[in-house]
């Protein structure tokens, strides 16, 4: 039957190559996808979630937990690790067996698809959202002998918001039923999500078991990288510290830190002429990677713009200064532009050409423009600060 066919990508003709040198080995280990067995620096959170879920499983009761934190702080990875450990404990009969189901709000076209996915993961049957909701209701509200506890992980909770909030309501209401044996773990980014978007009866059912993942500090980031590298000596100590300090100062996102380190190994590989004798990744390589990934391109873009485009930007600023506003119509700017052209000894350009120049700047978002149907009447605003523009134009 077609249902049993598992869709898959065709296989490669040749297997992947094994990493050839230290840098490649390091790069493979630093890839975000190679999640380590145990996550460093999240022991406390791991313990909290573990004991919460474990106690619910042992008691055979239900409950909810809300986990928040900015992206890249290890929320999903920690929960997955908890589940792995619990599964292991269940396998050796320390705790009763349980079901683990995972849904992700971002991976559904519609919030109501959540029902369908939960039902499919629980029983394997397919149904429309309404029917699935009814079946799940029946399953969780009625007593049944030898019922297993179900642990449900809901990632990206804010995407399950609907106007009536019935999906969220059901998800948080089922665990409160006596016969449900359901533990719901929810993950989202904002700490005050329950207060902000949920109506009272939903927020009250979510309960007060909250946990927030703090952004990683630089020491933690450093430790994460060290544990990933796991004795592969590819980085200088200072280089690691620089990368982690920089990321910790900006966002505390572990993904970013790993990406930077990975990029730095690439730069290091290129900088040496002899591929076999690759050195360690030093400060300069990390510096270059940081510049590549954090710097904004606006200033270089202005520097590389054509003469007329640069003049137009200067005209925009001149007009802003004259008006004392942050907005001017194209017509006003164009008058300034013509004056500047004469000043620079260039041939004045026609209005069509001026509009084309303006449009090109608008297309790469150095300027913000109104729809170009308005022609010379369209209003022009800068998308970068005036200081940046002046700096870029002065530097050459």
């Amino acid at each position: 039957t077609p249902h049993q066919a598992t869709p898959s990508i065709p296989c490669r003709s040749l297997p992947t190559r094994q990493p050839a040198n230290i840098l490649e080995e390091a790069r493979a280990r630093l890839h975000v996808s190679s999640v380590p067995e145990s996550l460093p620096c999240r022991e406390q959170e791991f313990q909290d979630i573990y004991s919460f879920v474990e106690s619910k499983i042992i008691d055979g009761t239900g409950g909810c937990m809300y986990i928040s934190g900015v992206p890249g702080t290890g929320k999903t990875a920690t929960v997955h690790e908890v589940m792995r450990c619990l599964q292991h404990a269940a396998d050796v009969d320390e705790i009763p067996t349980f079901h683990f189901i995972e849904i992700n709000g971002m991976k559904m076209t519609d919030p109501h698809q959540a029902y369908v996915q939960i039902l499919q993961n629980l029983t394997g049957q397919k149904a429309t959202p309404d029917h699935a909701a009814a079946l799940l209701d029946k399953r969780f509200n009625n007593p049944a002998p030898r019922k297993q506890t179900t642990v449900l992980l809901v990632d990206e909770l804010d995407l399950l918001w609907t106007r009536k909030q019935n999906v969220m309501y059901n998800l948080f209401d089922w665990p409160t039923q006596r016969h449900a044996h359901l533990v719901v773990l929810t993950i989202a980014n904002t700490m005050d999500l329950p207060e902000r978007i949920m109506i009272n009866r939903v927020a009250s059912r979510l309960g007060l078991t909250r946990m927030s993942f703090q952004p990683y500090s630089f020491k933690q980031l450093q430790q994460i990288i060290m544990s990933r590298l796991n004795k592969v000596k590819a980085f200088e100590e200072d280089a690691l510290q620089l990368a982690s300090r920089k990321v910790a100062a900006l966002s505390g996102d572990a993904r970013r830190c790993l990406d930077i380190c990975r990029r730095a190994t690439e730069i290091c590989e290129h900088s040496t002429t002899n591929p076999s004798a690759t050195g360690l990744v030093g400060m300069s390589h990390v510096m270059e990677a940081l510049n590549e990934m954090f710097s904004s391109a606006y200033i270089t873009a202005i520097k590389c713009a054509s003469m007329q485009e640069q003049l137009f930007l200067r005209a925009v600023i001149a007009e802003f200064r004259r008006l004392g506003l942050e907005e001017a119509s194209f017509q006003q700017v164009f008058v300034q532009h013509q004056a500047l052209c004469r000043l620079e000894g260039l041939q004045p350009i026609s209005v069509s050409e001026g509009l084309a120049v303006c449009r090109r700047l608008g297309a790469c978002r150095l300027l913000l423009l109104e729809p170009s149907r308005l022609g010379v009447l369209q209003r022009v605003r800068l998308n970068v600060s005036q200081d940046d523009v002046l700096y870029a134009l002065k530097a050459d």
Partner: protein, 431 residues
């Protein structure tokens, strides 16, 4: 060498010229070797070592972003190992306007319709992302990472994908590229410099923040060099004699002072290669059997054609009455400092002119003036201040002039047989 000499046959000039247009513009730019190496290295690692990556190519329009990607892919596919493994999916933000269409397209291009075809068409409410994107491009067991074929996703007009609902497609693509599933490489191509600000923060966190900026940081001498190489015929052109003549004529063309000035002007206004191609195409279209090489005059003509003002050209085609109305509007704009006007005001201004001149040559009836006014509106030389045209009567609807004064004056200078008194009226400071 001798063999080639034997082959050296002279062909009729007409045939040569047809060949010229086919041969030119085929060579690639090599300004961005650093960038292309970076991209090539990245894609090679995806194809051969099964590493997942994501990268954005950012640069202004006409800077050669797609060209760079194509060159890199061409180089990559010359390697046998990469060629055997790599699957490619090309999406364009202008075509795949929503995620549903994009997913269908992915299914089609991965050629997996037979497998998932059932799921796409049978289920009423498709569980799209889970079922299609994830299962298809990926199986969750980490063992598959090394055995399944890498997929390259090219997202042209990447910024338009960021406007899809919840950015689900981008989230899923980046998520697969950051998890131990099928190795995929996501390459976005966009002209917006602020593209990262469009991404939601969880999507942004999953993106690897590699950006390749294609900015045209070359000077005029390189520009001139590009013109020369673009126009020159390659060595393997069938008729070598013709090719030599042609190349030397291109050489003399590029050394001409007036040509250099015209090119400098184009270079000043924009550095993109597409407008350069436009200019050169206009030159090439003037070739004929009797004139088998480009002369400086051709390029100057083409340049003039490229740079002419569209609105001023439209003004040349107006009737005297319409031109008079435009002049009246210009005076109104001068007097009232850009406040909007209506037909009555324009007509009054026009009447004042007629009274002074006392010759009744342009004494038109009100409906005629109105017709002319409407014609101007149809040409979009004037536009209503607010869109609600039905509410007010046409005579009293407020309008704005969509022309710059310099355009009006320029058009008046070139207008065929413009009456002197109209010209004088236009010049005079206050109507």
């Amino acid at each position: 060498m001798s063999k080639r000499k034997v082959k050296d046959v002279h062909r009729p000039i007409g045939e040569c010229i047809t060949q010229v247009c086919i041969n030119l513009f085929s060579c690639s730019f090599d300004f961005q070797t650093h960038n292309s190496l970076h991209l090539l290295e990245l894609l090679r690692r995806s194809a051969i070592q099964g590493e997942s990556n994501s990268v954005l190519i950012v640069g202004p329009r006409g800077a050669g972003k797609t060209m760079l990607l194509q060159c890199v892919l061409r180089d990559l596919l010359q390697e046998k190992e990469a060629q055997k493994n790599l699957l490619q999916v090309h999406l364009n933000g202008l075509l795949q306007t929503d995620d549903r269409i994009a997913l269908k397209e992915i299914t089609r291009q991965l050629n997996l319709e037979n497998v998932v075809g059932d799921k796409v068409f049978v289920s009423v409410q498709t569980e799209y992302y889970e079922q299609i994107l994830e299962n298809k491009t990926a199986e969750k067991s980490p063992g598959d990472r090394s055995s399944s074929r890498p997929v390259l996703f090219v997202l042209d007009e990447f910024d338009l994908f960021a406007h899809h609902k919840n950015q689900t497609l981008l989230y899923n693509l980046f998520d697969v590229s950051q998890s131990a599933q099928t190795p995929i490489a996501v390459v976005g191509v966009t002209c917006r410099l602020d593209v990262l600000e469009l991404l939601e923060k969880r999507v942004k966190s999953r993106f690897s923040h590699r950006q390749i900026h294609l900015l045209s940081s070359f000077g005029f001498s390189e520009y001139l060099q590009t013109v020369r190489t673009q126009l020159s015929l390659p060595d393997d052109f069938p008729d070598r004699g013709f090719a030599q003549d042609w190349n030397s004529s291109v050489q003399t063309l590029c050394e001409d002072k007036s040509v250099e000035e015209a090119l400098q002007r184009h270079f000043n206004s924009s550095k993109d290669f597409r407008s350069l191609h436009m200019l050169l195409m206009l030159c090439l279209s003037r070739l004929s059997v009797s004139k088998p090489s480009i002369k400086p005059a051709d390029l100057l003509d083409a340049s003039r054609l490229c740079l002419c003002d569209a609105k001023a050209n439209m003004l040349h085609g107006l009737s005297i009455l319409e031109l008079c109305l435009i002049i009246a509007m210009k005076h109104l704009n001068d007097v009232y400092e850009g406040e909007p006007f209506n037909l009555q005001m324009v007509h009054n201004e026009f009447k004042k002119f007629l009274q002074r001149k006392s010759n009744s040559m342009y004494n038109f009836e009100q409906p005629v003036v109105m017709k002319a006014f409407e014609h101007l509106q149809q040409l979009e030389l004037i536009r209503p201040v607010d869109g609600s045209s039905a509410k007010t009567q046409r005579e009293f609807q407020l309008m704005r002039l969509m022309l710059d004064h310099s355009q009006i004056m320029e058009a008046l200078q070139k207008y065929p047989q413009c009456p002197t008194d109209v010209k004088q009226w236009a010049m005079s400071a206050f109507g």
